[in-house]
Amino acid sequence: MTHADPTMRKVADFAPALFQSTEHHLCSGCGHPVAWRLLIEVLEELQLVDRSIGVVGHGCYTQIITTADVEFLQCLHGRAPAVATGMKRMLPDRAIYTLQGDGDMVSEGLAEVLHAAARGESITCLMLDNGVFGDTGGQMTAATTVGQRTKTSLDGRSEQEHGYPIPVADIVASFPGAAYVARGAVDKPNAIARTRRYLREAFASQLAGEGFSLVEILTMCPTGWAVPTDQGAQYQRDQVESTFGLGELRPRSTT
């Protein structure tokens, strides 16, 4: 088909209208753009487009701030939950969220996210977890799983040499101040559908004033993992999902 036929009904647009460009510089097979799309879809669905501010850390995903037509503040590596705290306290009726990678949140910014969760800060922290510092070439982070290949763990992360990953979402899920915590993925359609729901729940939780919310989204980085792009999804399932379970780690309280 090269043109639209009147008997056809469109069921999926190329991209949300809020993206000012459908071109980006992320690698072939990168999972981040799928997560970007889910975030923007949920903001649209919940009518938060003109009532939200994203605090974005440093990583390949940062490019969203030049593309998506919503307000952003690009902050220092790791510091997004603290910046978001200051914003939310001044603008309590807006949806304030962070967008960070695992390097940003789990390595550099571990103190920030744990302290914000402990305070029960009414912000939504989003972590795109591919287990590498993609933007600097694919080095290991504090979230890289044992056996995962990265530029600084070419034979796979070794317990003896590199220690173990820090499961921030699981830790935060145990905090009384955390109202909703989930871990999703973007490797296949049903995971994507669930992740979209997790994002919806997290923002709804913030708007209801329930406390801190966090959604970790596993994304593929075939470049950092040194796998062919069409094997990225399976590598993620074998290597990352096997360590970090998917699902709602702390569902919203129904009482």
């Binding site: 090269t2 639209a4 008997t7 999926a12 753009p33 792009t229 999804a233």
Partner: protein, 73 residues
């Protein structure tokens, strides 16, 4: 049997990752040896599309616009 759906593909921005192929349940997508101006290999649409949107969901490069037919042609 007629297809229940179809896609329009913006292949100039495809990066040939191949993630769309395994998620298409009817097997209506396959990679070819064709390349776009950027040098990436491209998918092609075969018979059997149901308009389920799986390809559009997983595609990192916004290549797919998905349609369903209102009546089977």
């Amino acid at each position: 049997m007629s297809d229940r759906g179809t896609v329009i593909m913006a292949l100039d921005r495809c990066k040939g990752c191949g993630l769309c192929v395994p998620v298409c349940r009817p097997g209506a997508l396959a990679m070819t040896d064709e390349r776009n101006a950027k040098g990436y290999v491209l998918p092609q649409l075969l018979d059997g599309c149901t308009g389920c949107r799986a390809c559009a969901e997983v595609c990192p490069d916004f290549v797919f616009e998905v349609y369903r037919f209102e009546t089977t042609p």
